[in-house]
């Protein structure tokens, strides 16, 4: 199945992370929060007017990531 980027998900869509193409501290921190290869994410909401994306990580943590960085996270839809 084809990979989609996190920024292309619609609210309610779920996926398994396959590759993270980003570099830098931001992605290192995402990984510590559990957003790493093979983890599950769900897109919960989009901020108004094209703002950041709120995602649910495995576990209870929920964070919002900028749309641009979300584009670097590739996943397989579930």
């Amino acid at each position: 199945m084809e990979l989609t980027s996190l920024s292309h998900l619609r609210p309610g869509d779920k996926g398994t992370v396959q590759t993270i193409n980003g570099t830098g501290l931001f992605f290192t921190r995402l990984r510590t929060l559990g957003l790493c290869e093979n983890s599950h994410v769900e897109l919960l909401r989009e901020a108004p007017f094209g703002g950041p994306l709120q995602i649910q990580l495995s576990g209870k943590n929920s964070i919002a990531v900028p749309r641009q960085e979300a584009g670097h996270i590739l996943l397989r839809r579930v």
């Binding site: 501290l25 992605f27 290192t28 559990g34 108004p48 703002g51 649910q56 943590n61 919002a64």
Partner: protein, 673 residues
């Protein structure tokens, strides 16, 4: 004395636990160079007394913000050899164990407190404590800090037992052999600085990162970066995945442990929380709710604090009058009645507003709403190049720029943080309000347009708008010039909605008010005494012949193009340190003596022909834009750790104020106003 460090993820009830363990035996200071609060407390149990240090919340030992950096570096620079108390949220154990296992691998003695166990029970989550304790090799306690359950067991343990460093977990993770050999190469570089038990864990973290390793000291840092980059290139070349080698294996291992020790029902997040979020972050409802909440906040700030402020004012003027009546006339009486009492008053007068603001902000923070607000506002703030998080410091600055600047520390990117600090003082703070009120009431005619829009109110609205528009413009320019490199991406955390604890909110409010009294109070008070001296001596025919009058006349040619005479000049000199002093200075100039009664001062200004509406507007514009607050300058210096930014701030704001007032006054005159 035994010293323990308390560490944990944000939103795990760490502050509540700290309060439950230490009671009122706390002291709060700042870490040197930054305004991150350093909380220390003493745990008293029987005859034993141990020290507890509450570190800022952090998700991992790889720091991503100033708060996290302090938490991490405290563990390596201070002495945690007695032990670390790790706190975890029972309802989010798997994520919280990440930090716990990192601390175990750091070779430190550690106990784990699993908090909010009552909430976990409500959600039918069960944790096999004995098995988990055995797997991690550390003592584990269940608590519900808010209900004070399990606290005495923890106290007992901490005061009687000696903690031993557990065995590192890292060898059990099954790190790939190729990675392990790379780790050994990094570990040899660390042998001088870090004990043998923690080297592997450090090496694993370093290899998984591709940032500047700001938490390591130079020159070690540069050697580590060189080594790491070489190894990462080599690994990439061989097709071995190195990024996240720490987090991925750790999460995987924790996942296995949690399967063995925890049982949890399928649905994790609360439905009602989702329902609230659907509304609070809705495209239209979100901004509407946000604006409504900000409206209430303003109402509280300006309307509700009027009464305590009026009471304080009345008390001060009563004290002043009594001091003059009781004390024999002379310099001492004058110093107390005209110098010290109004000086103290200038500090105390703002306490109701600052307390209200911090009460409301703490309340909003503790409910979890603040991050939703940042989420909703992110795009809007992004238009000016600022993150959504910058909204909160800027809103706070409407009460006082000092707490606003202190609140910028949640912004990860240093450049975004500096831009926010630079524009925060342009928000019309409460100290400008007395100046606005006095000048508008005295000099602007009370005309009404169309029956309900008053000119005075319109001008007041215009002043606030001018501040906001200037701030947006300055941010826009700064982001494209001095602070132009692309800002670092950051994420917004969504803590679960919780009912705030009144005692915690009140405590936070009290601490911040105390900080204001100490920080700003001392400066304002000292300057009031100096001002009293300048306006009283040399004794003669009032203020015109005093030092202050003399200074006012010296700068008169400079400020004449703005429409200001020497009397306003004296007011400006006096306001350089704290703008609210303008009112009391004008009172002294007009020989009213008592700073408390602004009504008589208003009458005096009304009858002074020099105060035309045009002069008043020019002066108001100047007060909107000028940086007349020594305390703000001091706070910026402390936050940025350099004099460059506070000096830049004073420079650009003063120039902006001068130019704007000049344009307004000369423009007005051209139209014959």
């Amino acid at each position: 004395m035994k010293t323990y460090f308390l560490i944990g993820n944000p939103n795990t009830g760490k502050s509540t636990l700290f309060n439950a363990l230490t009671g009122m035996n706390q002291k709060i200071a700042n870490y040197p160079g930054v305004t991150v609060e350093k909380k220390e407390g003493f745990l008293l149990h029987g005859r034993e007394k141990i020290k507890l240090i509450d570190l800022p919340g952090t998700y991992s030992l790889i720091p991503g913000s100033i708060d996290e950096e302090i938490a991490v570096t405290s563990l390596s620079t201070e002495d945690p050899s007695h032990g670390v108390i790790c706190i975890a949220d029972a309802t989010n154990l798997q994520q919280n164990l990440f930090l716990t296992t990192q601390i175990i691998d750091a070779g430190l003695p550690v106990i784990l407190i699993i908090n909010m166990i009552d909430e976990a029970e409500k959600q039918n989550l069960t944790i096999n404590r004995d098995l988990l304790s055995q797997e991690l090799g550390i003592p584990i306690f269940f608590t519900s800090a808010q209900k004070k359950h399990g606290i005495s067991t923890v106290k007992n343990f901490l005061t009687t037992d000696e903690l031993k460093a557990p065995k590192p977990l890292l060898p059990r993770f099954g790190v790939a052999p190729r990675i392990t050999s790379a780790l050994n190469e990094i570990a040899t570089l660390l042998s001088q600085e870090i004990g043998p038990s923690a080297q592997q864990a450090h090496a694993l973290r370093i290899l998984s990162r591709d940032d500047e390793l700001a938490d390591y000291k130079l020159p070690l840092r540069s050697r580590l970066i060189a080594k790491r980059t070489a190894l990462q290139q080599q690994l990439s070349h061989e097709g071995v995945l190195w990024n996240g080698c720490d987090s991925n294996v750790r999460h995987q291992w924790i996942d296995g442990i949690c399967r063995k020790t925890c049982a949890q029902p399928k649905t994790l997040h609360h439905r009602w929380q989702d329902k609230i979020d659907d509304v609070a972050t809705h495209k239209w409802w979100g901004p509407t709710i946000f604006i409504a909440i900000m409206g209430i906040l303003f109402q509280a700030l300006f309307r509700w604090s009027e009464y305590p402020m009026a009471a304080i004012e009345a008390m001060l003027s009563w004290m002043s009058q009594n001091a003059t009546a009781i004390l024999p006339p002379g310099p001492i009486a004058s110093l107390i009645a005209d110098g010290a009492i109004p000086g103290v008053g200038a500090v105390f007068l703002f306490i109701p507003q600052i307390a209200f603001l911090f009460f409301m902000i703490s309340l909003l923070e503790d409910t979890g709403y603040m991050s939703r607000a940042a989420f909703v506002m992110d795009r809007f703030m992004g238009k000016f190049g600022l993150p959504g998080k910058a909204f909160i410091p800027l809103i706070s600055s409407f009460a006082c720029a000092i707490p606003g600047i202190m609140a910028t520390r949640t912004i990860e990117s240093r450049r975004d943080r500096i831009v926010t600090m630079m524009i925060a003082p342009l928000m019309s703070c409460s100290a400008r309000l007395p100046v606005y009120t006095l000048l508008i009431a005295a000099c602007i005619p009370a005309i009404t347009f169309g029956g309900f829009i008053g000119l005075q109110g319109l001008i007041m609205w215009g002043l606030y708008t001018l501040g906001i528009v200037s701030a947006i413009t300055v941010a826009f320019i700064l982001k494209r010039t001095l602070l132009s490199t692309p800002s670092l991406p950051s994420f917004i955390e969504f803590p679960p909605y919780r009912l705030p604890q009144l005692s915690l909110v009140l405590k936070k409010t009290y601490e911040r008010v105390k900080l204001f009294i100490i920080n700003a109070g001392t400066i304002i008070f000292a300057l009031s005494i100096i001002l009293w001296f300048l306006t009283t001596y040399p004794r003669g025919d009032g203020i015109e012949s005093s030092f202050a009058g003399y200074l006012g006349k010296i700068i008169e040619p400079l400020i004449a193009p703005l429409g200001f005479d020497w009397k306003i000049g004296v007011g400006l000199i006096a306001s350089f340190a704290a703008r609210e002093v303008f009112v009391s200075t004008m009172a002294i100039i007009y020989k009213l003596g008592d700073a408390g009664t602004s009504d008589s001062l208003m009458q005096a200004l009304k009858h002074d022909a020099a105060f035309t509406p045009m002069v008043a507007i020019s002066l108001l514009v100047f007060y909107v834009l000028a940086c007349q607050c020594m305390s703000t300058v001091a706070v910026v210096k402390r936050e940025t750790n350099t004099w460059r930014w506070p000096i830049f701030m004073v420079g650009y704001m003063t120039s902006l104020a001068y130019i704007a007032a000049f344009v307004v006054y000369q423009g007005g005159r051209m139209f014959g106003w």
